[in-house]
Amino acid sequence: MHNNVLNLEDLENNPSSRVPVCLVLDTSGSMENEPIDELNEGVRLFYEAVRSDETALYSAEISIVTFGGSAMRHADFSTLEHQPEAPHFYANGGTPMGEAMNMALDLLEKRKNDYKASGVDYYQPWIVLMTDGKPNGDSSELSRSIQRTCEMINDRKLTIFPIGIGEGADMDTLARFSPKRKPLKLQGLNFREFFAWLSKSVSKVSQSTPGDKIQLDVEGIKDWAEL
């Protein structure tokens, strides 16, 4: 919230095209111990990798929303120049996935309005949705978030990477969020490999120009996904 002023001024002083990336992460009780530790480490390394890429540092805007008990906003869209430290997550509670996705979509809408108002160009936003279970929040929130997401994807206004963690991940729900891309299952707890691939993909996008077709590293997906 205190970041709002800084984030608007940032758009004035740094008009580089932005790559908005929102991580929507399951931090429910079942993620306790090893899974949440690996997730924390993966996100930390992701921040490190983006910070060390001089183009991505000034263009990637990372936002983080978690769902564990309640939907929580850990980071608003901001470049890592102004928000350099990765947040730390704790596992607890149920799985309000719909609420979290709605929060992410709201944050994204607001940031897009900021971009338009300031005249800053931006790439098609990415949402990374990771879960190890089934959503058990409000069902109308869930349907609303699925509807909004699919509409944006079909309108070519959003890309989503839906990823299931472990045996209990509900791949069907993930598929409902992603009409164009089949959800993938994470290999074991290979969060680090996933976030390394993500940071490379973000770097690639920030080296291009908005409107370009980006070729994602399909080969690299084998490092972290069960195929």
Binding site: L8, S16, A71, Q83, A117, G119
Partner: protein, 421 residues
């Protein structure tokens, strides 16, 4: 638009894949057409189409395409570029074709390039880190150097096609390198790539960049955009406050920087208006008339050529180096001015908040300069409108480490405003 395209499109034979049976790696031995051996060293760059390797010859590097991207068009174009026999320091044109141990065409040899991408000049912290001693005259000299190289290529019947901030590397204002030269348009073979901000209005909306041959007139738009982005350092001419997308603004030719009184009032907030104001009038005139609908230089056939721009930038460089421009306002010699250029006949006083020299008549009315007024309003509005909890969610917000303007400093400014009104 369609008829224009038909006029320009020639029948080009379709591109076909060439056989390449192995992926090139460091240590592999390639050879040129006349049998010279080239050993690939470490990989120094990789893109969508291929990789650049060091070679056993320290001043030359090899660009090797990925097997699936090695095609007849590429071979034909590189042959033509080599045949042209042109040479200019800093333009990394193909010098020799490269074949692998199976005698398959894989890429080409070129002179090594060095320096930082022009793109790093666009981000202030990177600019200050990499070129801490540069003044405005260095940026102007950089433009002169770029224009000389582009002019040379145009004179030799080559159109770059993909002028953009990642294709030009800068060591010093006089020492720069053009890379990715294998995509240049030559002798009827089109340039297959481009980026939206550098594409002129008449070519926006093409299905593929290689569907038509570009003219020098088309290219002169890209040249103007590049020059603008170096003068209003880091900005693009068609980014606008509350405007449509940059692409739409290009198509509508809705330029957002003023010439005299003429303005669409959509200049982006931030230091950009200051940078624009410190440019000499003749340069503002040239940019305004290039980027605005109906301007003297706004169409494919009327655009300023690289030579026209070269003359203007040379004059600008002379103005700066002679000290004449700085006499009017010393801030015009800096890369990042922090206030508007001073005009004759106006009395200037220091704004009590930012301490910059401001038109006295404006300070009298509001107590502080307009820029400070705007920033204060922005901060005040942001603080007032941000809720502590997002409704509908039971979450809390994590601690933030950012700083913000405190209430007490705002009260002081209010007092100052009251004093002057």
């Amino acid at each position: 638009m369609k008829t224009m395209l038909n006029k320009r499109t020639q029948t080009i034979a379709p591109d076909q894949k060439l056989p390449v049976s192995q992926v090139a790696r460091p240590g592999h031995i390639m050879h040129t057409e006349n049998g010279q051996s080239i050993v690939l060293g470490a990989q120094i760059a990789g893109g969508g189409e291929g990789h650049v390797f060091k070679t056993n010859s320290p001043s030359y590097v090899a660009k090797v395409y990925m097997p699936e991207k090695t095609t007849t068009h590429k071979l034909a174009k590189i042959k033509k570029l080599i045949q042209k026999g042109i040479d200019f320091p800093g333009i990394c044109l193909p010098k020799a074709l490269l074949y692998n141990s199976k005698d398959e065409f894989v890429g080409y040899l070129m002179k090594k390039a060095e320096g930082e991408k022009v793109r790093s000049l666009y981000t202030k912290p990177l600019f200050l880190k990499k070129f801490p001693n540069w003044k405005k005259r260095d940026l102007v000299e950089l433009c002169v150097t770029i224009l000389k190289k582009i002019g040379y290529l145009h004179k030799n019947g080559i159109i770059l096609g993909d002028i953009n901030p990642d294709n030009i590397l800068v060591k010093t204002p006089k020492d720069i390198f053009f890379v990715d030269c294998d995509s240049y348009q030559v002798d009827g073979i089109p340039c297959p790539v481009g980026v939206i901000p550098f594409t002129p209005p008449e070519l926006q909306g093409l299905d593929h960049y290689n569907s038509c041959l570009r003219t020098v007139g088309n290219e002169n738009f890209a040249v103007a955009v590049l020059l603008f982005s170096l003068m209003v350092t880091g900005q693009m001419p068609y980014n606008q406050k509350n405007g449509a997308t940059a692409q739409q603004n290009i198509i509508n030719m809705d330029f957002s920087y003023p010439l005299g009184e003429a303005s669409n009032k959509k200049t982006p907030n931030g230091p950009w208006r200051f940078l624009w104001s410190h440019l000499p009038r003749f340069l503002k005139d040239a940019f305004y008339n290039t980027f605005n609908k109906g301007g003297k230089y706004s169409t494919e056939s009327s655009r300023l050529s690289t030579y026209d721009w070269f003359k203007k930038f040379n004059d600008y460089l002379t103005l700066l180096d002679s000290g004449k421009f700085g006499k009017q306002d010393e801030m015009s010699e800096l890369v990042y001015p922090t206030r508007f250029k001073k005009q004759k006949g106006i009395t200037y006083v220091k704004c009590p908040q930012c301490r910059e020299d401001t038109d006295e008549s404006v300070i009298g009315k509001f107590g502080i300069c307009l820029e400070c007024l705007r920033k204060n309003r922005l901060r005040h509005c942001q603080k007032a409108s941000t809720p502590r909890h997002t409704s509908g969610y039971s979450g809390t917000f994590s601690r933030s480490t950012s700083t913000h303007v405190s209430r007490s400093s705002f009260n002081t400014i209010r007092e100052i405003i009251n004093w002057f009104i």
